[in-house]
Amino acid sequence: MIRFDQVSKRYATGQEALSGLSFQVEPGEMVFVTGHSGAGKSTLLKLLAMIERPTRGTVTVDGRNLSTARAGSIPRLRRKLGMVFQDHRLLMDRSVFANVALPLVIAGIAPAERARRVRAALEKVGLLSYEKQAPAMLSTGEQQRVGIARAIVAKPPLIIADEPTGNLDPQLAAEIMGLFDALQNVGTTVLVASHDLMLIKRTRKRVLVLDHGRLVDDVPATEVRS
């Protein structure tokens, strides 16, 4: 599903965020990316979302080389991707419902079907009763869950989440991980950037460890110990 081949990313500032990164993720796999702050976790996800382009190497998603994708095809590629951002990125002047519905409007889903799916997604993150609220009225953790609902609502084959549990208590964080796990079971590939080691250990999935932009460890799920 995902293949990084000798990928390096150097920002315009000269900062080398990723260097010589190579790994592969199978379809339907759930993988954590961890490492210290500034290790390059967000950068790795940004390459997948085509927010940034690699300086060297190739990123392949679903058999498609993102480095050679034309700018015009980016929207279509992003529709196959559910993204949870470190900073939520919600439309603050629209309701929770409208925020979650957005990917479905873009995909051209019929209103009745759309409402059904939005409610199903909100229910999964435990926010069904908040659908009419404005995101600004919600707590940070609740906003983060709205962002998660928006990422899963269109049922994309790949979900990438940047610190999706950063503002959640352990109980809620575990529930969200359970949600991702359930998605994985229906064949969705999930990539989660997190430095919450407790959570990673409890969830027991494969872990990629970054250190100063280098892949220093790739721990299979079976070897993750609580």
Binding site: M1, P27, G28, A49, I51, D62, A71, I74, P75, R76, L77, R78, R79, L81, M83, F85, R89, L90, L91, D93, L102, P103, V105, I106, A107, G108, I109, A110, P111, E113, R117, R150, K155, P157, V186, G187, T188
Partner: protein, 318 residues
């Protein structure tokens, strides 16, 4: 990928694609109204400025149109007066009148005797006393010619030249000459109004463009989110195009209302002026079709302004 459980293919059928298109437009439309509502003062200012800019050429067109009507109304009385020599014979005037009646460019001929002229003058205020002191009639025979309604300038000139060569003729006065000068002036005026309309339309375009640019800059976060969830460029652009359309439409409506107000304000004084010309003249507003067309054209203008700005401001993400 093959293992991904897909929903039934909801976005594939043709009716659904058409409906989805409508829903996405509705989304953009609602979003555009939020844009306008989000900056009420700026919106009001944009609409007002645009309204005034478009009302200006309309006002000039209105004035020009009425000047034209005035010319036409007064032109119906245009006449050529042939003053015979004071010491001439009545027979000269009669002969001239008879030969004129046969010409096809002449509609009517009237011979006024010095006596008639004196009687006419006597009815005018201030003249009656002065005339009493005269012991002879100083007025000549006058042959008044009314040309056919649509005589052209060349024919009129030829007729006048011919009149000057006739025996007993002292002076020929063409009351219609000012008509030709007015027509020429109106042609210049029409050209000027068209030019003004083009210039002010460009100004309106820039005003809308600038507002849309501000809208886009104030919404950069939202634009970023839309792009990240896979919105196409036309989806991202649509709210701003609609906003431009609304700006233009509202500006056009303001321009139409302003013009109608002006027509209403002018109609009373012009009616009084008309009365002094014997009521042959009445005030004419701009044609309804033009007034109805103004908001439509303004909306198109607003859309175009927004489109140009979007092409620049939304060119490349990141």
């Amino acid at each position: 990928m093959a293992r991904v459980a897909r929903e039934p293919a909801t976005s594939r059928t043709r009716p659904r694609r058409v409906a989805a298109w409508g829903e996405q437009h509705a989304w953009g439309l609602v979003a555009s109204l939020r844009r306008l509502g989000g900056r009420p003062l700026g919106t009001l200012l944009t609409v007002t400025v645009m309204g005034f800019a478009l009302a200006l050429p309309l006002t000039f067109a209105l004035l020009l149109g009425n000047l034209q009507r005035l010319g036409t109304a007064l032109g119906q009385t245009q006449a050529i007066s042939v003053f015979m020599k004071v010491d001439g014979h009545a027979a000269d005037a009669k002969a001239l009148a008879d030969s004129l009646r046969d010409r096809k460019e002449v509609a009517a001929v009237d011979v006024r005797t010095p006596k008639q002229g004196m009687a006419e003058l006597a009815t005018m205020q201030g003249f009656s006393d002065a005339l009493k002191s005269l012991d002879y009639n100083p007025l000549p025979y006058v042959v008044v010619i009314r040309p056919v309604a649509h005589i052209d300038a060349g024919e009129a000139a030829k007729l006048i030249a011919w009149l000057r060569t006739q025996p007993g003729v002292d002076q020929v006065q063409d009351d219609g000459a000012w008509r030709q000068r007015l027509d020429a002036l109106l042609a210049v005026g029409t050209r000027a109004v068209l030019l003004l309309a083009v210039l002010l339309a460009i100004a309106a375009l820039l005003v809308v463009g600038n507002s849309v640019r501000l809208d886009i800059q104030g919404r950069s976060d939202e634009i970023g989110v839309l792009r990240l969830v896979g919105a196409s460029p036309s989806f991202v652009r649509r709210p701003y195009l609609y906003a431009g359309l609304w700006y233009g439409l509202a500006g056009g409506v303001v321009a139409t209302v302003l013009t109608l107000l002006l027509e209403w304000a002018l109609s009373a004084p012009v009616a009084r002026l008309a009365a002094s010309y014997g009521g042959r003249l009445d005030f004419g507003g701009l044609p309804w079709a033009l007034l109805a067309l103004v908001p439509v054209l303004a909306a198109a203008l607003g859309w175009l302004g927004a489109r140009l700005v979007c092409a620049r401001q939304l060119r490349r993400p990141e």
